[in-house]
Symmetry: C2
Subunit: 692 residues, 2 copies
Amino acid sequence: MATRDLQALFDPHSVAIVGASNDPVKWGYGLARGALRGASRRPVYLVNRNGGEILGQQAFRSLEDVPKPPELVVVAVPEPAFEETVDTALAVGARAIVGITAGLGELSRDGLEREQAVVQRVRAAGAVLLGPNCLGVFDAGAELDVGWDALPPGAIGLVSQSGNLALELALLAADCGLGFSRFASMGNQADLDAADLLPTLADHEPTRLIALYVEDFRDGRAFAAACHAAVEAGTPIVLLAAGTSEAGVRAARSHTGALTSGLSAVEAACRAAGVELVRTPKELIDTAQALLAPRLPRGRRLAVFGDGGGHGIVAADLAAATGLVVPKLGEQLVAELRVALGPMAVTGNPVDLAGGGEQDFARFERGAELLLASEEIDAVLLTGYFGGYAEYGPDYEDRETGVARSMGRAAAASGRPLVAQTMYPRSPAAWALRSEGVPVYGEVDAAIRVLVRLAARAERHSTGVPVLPEPARSPIESAGYFEARDLLAAAGIPFVEARRVASLDETLSAATELGYPVVLKALGLLHKSDAGGVALGISGPEELAQVFSKMATRLSAAAYSVERTAPLEAGVELIVGARRDPRFGSTALAGLGGLYAEVLEDIAVALAPVEPYEAEQMLRALRAAPLLLGARGRPALDLLGAARALAAISRVAAEHPEIAEIEINPLLVTVDGALALDARVVLETEGGSDAR
Amino acid sequence: MATRDLQALFDPHSVAIVGASNDPVKWGYGLARGALRGASRRPVYLVNRNGGEILGQQAFRSLEDVPKPPELVVVAVPEPAFEETVDTALAVGARAIVGITAGLGELSRDGLEREQAVVQRVRAAGAVLLGPNCLGVFDAGAELDVGWDALPPGAIGLVSQSGNLALELALLAADCGLGFSRFASMGNQADLDAADLLPTLADHEPTRLIALYVEDFRDGRAFAAACHAAVEAGTPIVLLAAGTSEAGVRAARSHTGALTSGLSAVEAACRAAGVELVRTPKELIDTAQALLAPRLPRGRRLAVFGDGGGHGIVAADLAAATGLVVPKLGEQLVAELRVALGPMAVTGNPVDLAGGGEQDFARFERGAELLLASEEIDAVLLTGYFGGYAEYGPDYEDRETGVARSMGRAAAASGRPLVAQTMYPRSPAAWALRSEGVPVYGEVDAAIRVLVRLAARAERHSTGVPVLPEPARSPIESAGYFEARDLLAAAGIPFVEARRVASLDETLSAATELGYPVVLKALGLLHKSDAGGVALGISGPEELAQVFSKMATRLSAAAYSVERTAPLEAGVELIVGARRDPRFGSTALAGLGGLYAEVLEDIAVALAPVEPYEAEQMLRALRAAPLLLGARGRPALDLLGAARALAAISRVAAEHPEIAEIEINPLLVTVDGALALDARVVLETEGGSDAR
């Protein structure tokens, strides 16, 4: 989709509020009051069918009475009047419409149809529609504020599908001195969605970071690609994705009519696009504070620094538990710290002034300088009491803020990040640190989480969002075992040798041909193994005949597969496969085979198709990776072979959107190669997950 | 140890501050000022070797000049004068001494020896010592405040090894209206430790919850038993345990000379004692707020309720991700909610007023009542905007706080917990909720974490702290393979049959006796398997001779074990064993065998010895438990047999404190039983982890 012109939405030449009101409880009041704040920059027309005076200004009874065509029309009328109002707006020449009105697509099928019809007319007129069921739009630089009350100005461009969540983000942002350059409330995304809005934020000079709250990703690949473009162009993105649980899905459908995605698909899209995914509003703002600071660490080695042992220990424990390293410092650095910090100081890392801070504030500065300048560490966490000395009196406050500024400058000079946690996050020293580009948190786990995230961000090489290939010319029509094997074998995946058989005679002769011991599988069962339809290690014809007869009686399968026995004990069994997400399309997945992946929740997911290199990264990211890589003296297995098979199955899935699920379980990985021992395909059914 | 009389510490008849000062930067100033706040209740003597006037009161030059014996003496003198001051205090008849002075046991071996000598003299005089290197003591009811400035009064009894962390806890507590009944800063715990202080808090009527920050648990079993006694008597305990990482250990040694415990041992002790373990000060106060509220949920079913869809969805996603259930509500309840909440409301769960709250506040009340009264749910989370309506004006504020109180009363009437998250945690409505016993949080993940904790607490049946048995009469002297097997077999654990052999001839004849295929192991290697000292599935004498000769050449082992082959493919391999913690003694552990437990970090730990019933609970708590319990149509394995083996090895470890580590890996669990296929013992060495 071409980038849409949203000038009229964020910086219109004129604006009309339809449904403007004098009643402070009604949306129309806040919208009118907000719009009037920009009255020196553009004409503001208030429309109310009763006319009269609103907020000291004469109201028009209809949009048609407005003297000049309003470029932006904000519609806050009751639901039955929505369509007529939009049509009138288009008729008088509106270029952008903001639909505040609720009760359409999110409430009923009829509402959805009416909403979609309106969108057709808006698009036909070359205009754009934000919402309906949204909270409005804000642009600090353009002095446009329709739908919001006192959003603090700043560097965050915010796009949200929830009004109240955006309000919470605003409160949390203000708490740490952050604010917003632009805000668009998307509501039902009937016309404009997040992918449409992203380019206007990425290109918007005052916007230094994009924050998103999204329930429905619509065209998930387009969304991810728009994110990736913004990130590559230098604007970091933090995403709060909602509706990833069953109850969340239920609620999202009711809230904005959203069709939600599984968490693993959203995670995969974020990894591909370089987007930071968060779970709560607080985590979003915490992350934004860190990403708006100028520096990333080059590794995971953290120095913990403060006055008071307990805080340093708690921080070090948390850091170690979340994958950071708190290294013992080298002798020379320790010696320098001893000289600088006084005889009581603990210089091991955590570095603790042990009560020496208040005797000589300069120790904070010298300690921070030495640690930040050292090649032994990648980031410094200042933790604990600092910020509280101001409570001793104005003289202390001055010295403390001075030291705070010096520490901030030391971080800038070193090129390494300094992150602070203080018991006094609203103290003058905390604000001084923030003003020097040091993120400051009230809680130590917020600070540690952010440090872990920064380290991971610095390590990550975003691979970009894979483009879905053209669908294969001949879609798959049957999901049988041998069809699945053939499809995957044709894609280059080696399979254990097998013969399709129907009778005992055929079974016995196939086994002779393959050589005992053999495996016998009954076909036509979704979970063969669970149903007792798989027999391993059949040693000779008598046993085979017995097993065949038992399976035939119990399962009455129409066909069977006789297969060569694979050297299970010589390798590790994986599952490799793909699942289709309703919004992001096929996602590749890999984990330990058998029940392990499921039971242990150790599964790597990526947007399909993946290249072998990316597939290898997925396998290396498993907790179980050491089993493949040769832990504790065991030989390394054929990781590349496994990666090739994963890449191949992901490509097959991507080329066949009719596939809901496809998997090889197990894929036997040995020192010599990767061999598929089974295959399974589930096709999308009508009324399935993609139907709306 | 008998309970010690701490009356003189928390409510002395008289108090002396040695090192009192007029200089606001010195500890002696704050101590004197704090002590004088209780001057109407008890005589306060200020001592400074320079005499003069301090805070408007004549100072004594020496403790010996004080007119009557001070029952409590607070020592805040420089480190060289510490011992003499304590001796003088004892000489004039002090019953309790608080050592503020730092620089003793935490700083050097010499300091530690001097500190221990002082403790001997204190104990010989029948007195008690808190600290040294501590911050003081506080008792709200007794108006005793030495070492603290303006700790808010309340229901929490706090014992901390860090002063600044206690200060942070005080700030966080005040933030949500909580405060402290008693506070003791333990510092180096030279005499009094947490186990000594716990009974005086458990028996203290105003103390309704005990909060602990501990770096060194000293006698871990005594500590855990004291905790369990307090919890059983009705006082919940929340513990912030520090020093569980390598860097944390390093810092804790420097901070208070602490010998720290592994996280898994601390977790095991907390489970046994019914203590809530937390990782940060904020989590401690969040948990305290919830536990001071009167109700526990009876299950994991959560109703999420609010006005504004986004908040409900975010909360539902988080709840589902952390093990709570957000069930779809039944038809009748939905119908009642529809009537009560108006046509726009979403009634699926999350229940969302969808903008209807501000039109009619009573909807909050009716919704909360219906949800709390329903048998379909166990707890209700109110989330989002509620608390913010007060910003519309005083009329809104009145109605909102009224509704808040009604919701709190509805929760009380229902017997189910109501927990609130609001964007406005300091609003009048938030305070009204708290006053009705509803915990209120600013961040949704804090609220969800607390709900998960409450549900887990309600489910848990604390087994109590196992008593360590008397050490076995004959300690183990050799840690060889066959010695380990014999020790464990004597405890009732079945082992695969094996023969100790030294020559090829012995090896061949042992194999003939046991029957091929056999296993050959080279003995005397700590990790036989990693070093290539284990060969499985040897099918006949020729192969055995080859393998023997290879091992003999490469490993030059003095002895070997020939063993019967076990049916590995028919079962699941576990590791069961025990590790000794320097403070808590032996801990039992279990996980998947081979490399899995280690690689997947899926290990259950409990204080040893465990009974078979507890061992079974440990195995059921593994993520991998479905593999044992018969996942997806597979047969259930002999869980009880595995549990018996785990219980037996834990008892062996508990009876042998000389064992640092003991394990069976693998323990093969099949449908028919649990069979030990290997054994390993590591003995404590001199200078090992228990040496101090």
